[in-house]
């Protein structure tokens, strides 16, 4: 067969490489700012746009979708062409993918600090950005698939299986989780409420980790480790077993983020067992990566690329063992809501994704610029300071997590909480937060060294936008080898691969989500739980805008240490009007589910103005702008109508009365504050926020709760 000559597109790889580098450093600097805010709220700079509640989503979005996202595209566009022996199907689609993705990131960078958010973790971007993400993702998938179809390599290499699974699953997760009802261009409500919203959200959130941070990077690992070490992949059949096991099992594990919450027990149990079964499939990837280096360890010592990748894969192995352990309910009872989780995700983020990306960059840049690294010493420096940074980041966070959890749970002989004041358990952690910021800081120094090194490397080389290669085209007269494995047949049928992957990931999600949606007994209703008043609804939207859920949970777990501290544990039926749910995932501050009627209005007023006045030593920032901004009621009627559409039982036509009710309630609160000597205009945002906080968790009295329990 005559060989054909064609050219690989390196320009698109370069574009994504630049974006990866730029957003890497930006995302990490935002993270460092957030870390410093935990040490001293001064770093919130008293501006609404940079408070922790808005910066933290910016950090997670920048690091996950901008840094790692561009890293995925960089690696996929490079490896896919070479593994399939063809150029990308369409340069135009490649470029739409690139510029579209950067525009999405840009809109995130603008909207998140402005407080435009859906209030769902890792899915904070508003509805129109969600639509753009879906479109661009489809562009990526289409381009990838068309490239696969015109390939010159009959079988698909394991890396591409992972790319395909990534594409279908992320599309499914993103679309299902982003169902929301727009109220205006900048505001929408999640389609789901309460428990259902929580389940869908963490099904998404957990699998964003699985299919955005893990499977595409495993694909990259399968390409770059054998290339950089010049060794054959350790075991083809391990690839097959761990690939299918991983994608099938991963999708079930979401409920481990909701253990001991109001999620029904059966869903929690599924989350536990499938998380536990994930150890081996995850470690299959680690083993195949590390054992590929068998006989090449002498090269690891020499090569910065391999060194980074070895630590990356090791971190992957550590966090995929730790994750299943944290999914056991007795461990989760200690780790959940604490900094342990933060340590865990940063072993994955800084170690696995960060170091793998750096390894790929150190491999790619000299190749694309046809030169050698500018300075191997500097690469080495980056490696060591980065590794040290990971350790210094993680250890204080583990320590902080254990410390705080133990303090929360300690009782005195008299049967009282040993640390009844939540603040004591926070001030205790400040040194650890400082140490964490230091660890993160030196990790960033390493990244800066890398950027300098890579830029100097580019300067000394010449970029090759096109790379010539040749291969014979595929013919139609292929006959299968005798005795080939059954899996080979799937490997030459990309559509089957796609369909089987989709089936594998759809099963787990469907079995968990559909019954929770359809079977009433999963969420026992409580008659006394009523929809929010218009003012409370507006206050809730302010709560979401300011990102309060980043530090405060609204989920009291059925533990003695929590019911003593916060009050009656949270019931599924209490959240039926919460679009979106606001259970949170981390308690930097106390749980707020039963904060209603616990303090006076004036306490909240003073506390939001200057938290340290009510809680000396607190790390919560002040919110002075809530006291000046007038509460806009333009959207109130629309919000009520949206809620009616979503099934919240406001009376017909209530949208027309809503603003009147809102003003009356605001006046009441203002009068109340006046009695305590506080003059406030009823139309300010703080009044709405106080209304919401004072409502939280007050719908049920303990008697009702017991009745609800009996019904369960």
């Amino acid at each position: 067969m005559e060989k054909e000559t064609f050219r690989y597109d390196n320009s698109i790889v370069r574009k994504f490489a630049f974006a990866t580098m730029a957003f890497g450093i930006i995302g990490m600097l935002v993270g460092l700012t957030a870390a410093l805010q935990m040490v001293d709220p001064w770093f919130n700079f008293l501006t609404p746009y940079l408070t922790f509640g808005r910066i933290r989503p910016l950090h997670t979005n920048a690091v996950i979708f901008a840094f790692v996202g561009n890293g995925i595209f960089m690696g996929v566009y490079y490896s896919l062409q070479r593994l399939l022996k063809t150029r990308m199907w369409s340069d135009a689609l490649s470029n739409i993918n690139f510029w579209g993705w950067q525009l999405i990131i840009l809109s995130a960078v603008v909207t998140l600090p402005l407080g435009i958010t859906t209030g769902k973790e890792y899915a904070e971007l508003e509805w129109w950005i969600d639509i753009c993400i879906a479109l661009i993702w489809v562009v990526f998938g289409l381009n990838m698939f068309m490239t696969i179809l015109k390939r010159r390599e009959r079988h698909l290499y394991v890396a591409i299986w992972f790319y395909i699974a990534t594409f279908v699953t992320v599309a499914m997760l993103h679309i299902v989780n982003s169902f929301e009802l727009p109220v205006s261009f900048f505001k929408s409500y999640s389609w789901y409420a309460g428990v259902q919203d929580a389940l869908v959200q963490w099904w998404y959130g957990h699998n964003a980790v699985a299919f955005f941070l893990t499977t595409p990077y495993l694909g990259l690992m399968y390409y770059f480790i054998p290339k950089a070490s010049n060794r054959p992949v350790y075991s083809y059949r391990l690839s097959i077993v761990h690939f299918w096991a991983l994608i099938f099992i991963y999708i079930w594990a979401g409920p481990h983020h909701l253990l001991y919450t109001a999620l029904p027990d059966w869903a929690q149990n599924l989350g536990v067992v499938f998380s536990f079964m994930l150890i081996a499939p995850s470690w299959g990837g680690m083993l195949n990566g590390l054992l590929t280096l068998r006989g090449a360890w002498d090269r690891v010592r020499e090569s910065a690329v391999l060194k980074f990748m070895v630590v990356a894969v090791t971190c992957y192995g550590m966090s995929t063992f730790e994750g299943p352990m944290m999914s056991l309910k007795n461990v989760n009872a200690i780790s959940h809501f604490t900094d342990w989780t933060i340590a865990h995700v940063h072993i994955g983020g800084l170690g696995w994704n960060g170091f793998m990306t750096f390894g790929i960059l150190y491999y790619l840049i000299p190749k694309l610029w046809n030169t050698k690294m500018y300075s191997d010493k500097l690469s080495d420096f980056h490696f060591w300071i980065g590794t040290l940074g990971i350790i210094l980041y993680a250890l204080p966070m583990y320590w902080a997590g254990f410390t705080q959890s133990l303090m929360w749970k300690e009782f005195t002989a008299e049967g009282f909480l040993a640390y009844p004041n939540f603040l004591e358990t926070v001030t205790q952690l400040k040194p650890m937060y400082a140490a964490r910021a230091f660890g993160g800081g030196i990790y960033i120094i390493g990244v800066i060294a890398m950027l300098y090194n890579l830029i100097m490397t580019m300067k000394q080389g010449t970029f090759q936008p096109e790379e010539e290669a040749s291969a014979a085209p595929l013919t139609n007269d292929y006959t299968a080898h005798k005795g080939e494995g059954w899996h080979r047949a799937i490997e030459r049928r990309p559509i089957q691969m796609l369909v089987f992957s989709l089936v594998a990931v759809a099963i787990g999600g469907a079995i968990e989500i559909i019954p929770t949606m359809l079977i009433d007994s999963n969420i026992p209703t409580i008659a006394s739980v009523k929809p929010y008043t218009p003012l409370e609804l507006e206050g809730r939207d302010i709560y979401i805008r300011e990102g309060c859920y980043n530090c405060h949970s609204q989920m009291i777990r059925p533990f003695r240490s929590e019911t003593e501290r916060y009050g009656e544990y949270s019931k599924a039926g209490e959240f039926v009007y919460d679009h979106p749910f606001q259970w949170g995932s981390k308690r930097t501050g106390p749980d707020l589910h039963r904060i209603g009627a616990k303090y006076s209005d004036s306490w909240h007023y003073n506390h939001m103005w200057d938290p340290a006045s009510m809680s000396p030593g607190t790390i919560m920032p002040s919110y002075p702008w809530l006291f000046d901004s007038e509460l806009s009621t333009d959207l109130t009627a629309g919000k009520i109508r949206a809620m009616q559409t979503l099934g919240v039982p406001y009376e017909e036509g209530y949208d027309q009365l809503a603003v009147e009710d809102l003003n009356a309630q605001a006046q009441q609160i203002a009068d109340n504050l006046k009695k305590d000597g506080i003059e406030v205009l009823p139309q300010t945002e703080i009044v709405a926020l106080i209304a919401y906080l004072q409502r939280l968790g007050t719908d049920i009295k303990v008697k009702d709760a017991q009745a609800a329990m009996v019904n369960q």
């Binding site: 070479r82 083809y236 009282f416 003695r560 306490w603």
Partner: protein, 396 residues
């Protein structure tokens, strides 16, 4: 076979340090205990059996190591000897330190008990040490036998003696590097080849184990009598209630609003002060006078005006039950009755301190001497908050 010699040294170092540290702990634990106090002869016997077993294993390890060393005495294999020795010493020191830390723990436990009863911790440490030593010995014997086998082969074969570490050996079922080409698959992607190694057996068994765990877990919690999370909660609360009842049976703590008395001793006042300054400051200010500018939340507690009545009984009651309508929370769940008594006493001790920037008076003048009938203010507290609100605004 370099790794072999390396490993032997490391393992011996670990084994030796383990044993030394364990025997040291045994001495420390046993010596201070008079023989006549030892009732649990079994424990002692078990301890000595375990310890002797460890010594025996160590001796055997030593012997096997010596034999192996003899067999390996030809040159090439001993390169880098010093580097390895240094490593062995480091491991020795590390393990000893770790174990001595465990010792200290075990010792504390033993010291706390008047008799020498081997603690569970010590027992398991000993078992683990013995098991570990046994494992080491077996490993060394296995290596020795394979060494002897390899020495028996012809010289030509001996040159290609395959290095097998544990990873490459029975645990991984990996085909040795030298024979790799036999399992190299017949495809190639951009220069990447794939081997067809078997699934590592330990990995596969781990996978089976996790699946079995999943099945058992599901059966137990879903289809059998595994407790739901609310069952767990109810059990936890029942145990706590029992403990609390036992504690409250202690009369010293059994104070309530009718029996609470003013305490004036310095330690009670300072206990009260400590609680006040962590729990009450948020609303009442550190001075107890709340603040004028900016307007504090809680009323001034240092003047003679009281919204819910002054005096021990009223203050005790206000602290205990709170006045939720006015923002005063109930402290019943966070303070013991005695602590409430102490805090109330401290508050009374603040009378007339007249701090700077104190809030203006609210409520009525309280006269302690009984001129006001004790029942009256109590009643007013229990009346609707409207009455209080009126008095409060009247005070303004």
């Amino acid at each position: 076979m370099k790794w072999f010699n390396n490993r032997t040294r490391l393992l011996s170092a670990v084994a030796l340090s383990t044993l030394l540290a364990t025997s040291a702990s045994a001495q420390e634990s046993v010596v201070p205990v008079p023989w006549e106090n030892i009732v649990s002869a079994n424990d002692t016997a078990v301890f000595w059996v375990l310890a002797s077993f460890a010594v025996l294993l160590l001796i055997l390890i030593w012997v096997v190591a010596g034999v192996t060393k003899g067999l390996l005495s030809d040159t090439e294999l001993w390169k880098g000897k010093w580097e390895q020795s240094a490593k062995a010493v480091a491991v020795f020191i590390g393990t000893s330190m770790l174990l001595s830390a465990t010792d200290t723990l075990a010792q504390t436990e033993v010291a706390a008990s008047p008799l020498f009863e081997m603690s569970d911790g010590l027992f398991w440490i000993m078992v683990v040490v013995d098991a570990f030593l046994l494992f080491v010995l077996l490993g060394m014997l296995y290596n020795l036998s394979s060494l002897i086998k390899s020495l028996r082969t012809t010289e030509a074969q001996a040159e290609v003696v395959v290095e097998k570490s544990i990873w490459e050996g029975s645990l991984s079922a990996a085909v040795p590097l030298e024979q790799e080409k036999d399992i190299l698959m017949d495809h190639e992607y951009d220069g990447i080849m794939e081997l067809d190694n078997k699934l590592p057996p330990w990995w596969l068994y781990m996978f089976y184990f996790t699946i079995a765990f999943g099945v058992v877990y599901t059966i137990y919690y879903e289809f059998s009598d595994g407790p739901s999370q609310l069952d767990e909660y109810n059990t936890e609360m029942a145990i706590a209630a029992e403990q609390k009842a036992a504690f409250l049976a202690n009369a010293a703590n059994n104070v309530d609003e009718s029996t609470a008395m003013l305490l004036t001793d310095a330690s009670s006042i300072s206990n009260g002060k400590a609680k006040f300054e962590t729990l009450c400051v948020a609303c009442h200010a550190k001075s107890g006078g709340s603040t004028q500018v900016p307007m504090g939340v809680g009323p001034n507690l240092t003047d003679e005006y009281w919204i819910h009545g002054g005096g021990m009984q009223n203050i005790f009651k206000t602290i205990k039950y709170g006045v939720p309508a006015k923002g005063m929370i109930s402290w019943e769940a966070q303070l013991t009755p005695v602590q409430i008594q102490e805090v109330a006493s401290y508050i009374i001790s603040l009378q007339g301190t007249n701090p700077e920037n104190a809030k203006e008076p609210q409520g009525d003048i309280w006269v302690e001497d009984g001129a006001v009938a004790p029942a009256a203010p109590t009643d007013s507290t229990e009346q609707a908050p409207v009455a209080e609100a009126e008095t409060a605004s009247a005070a303004e």
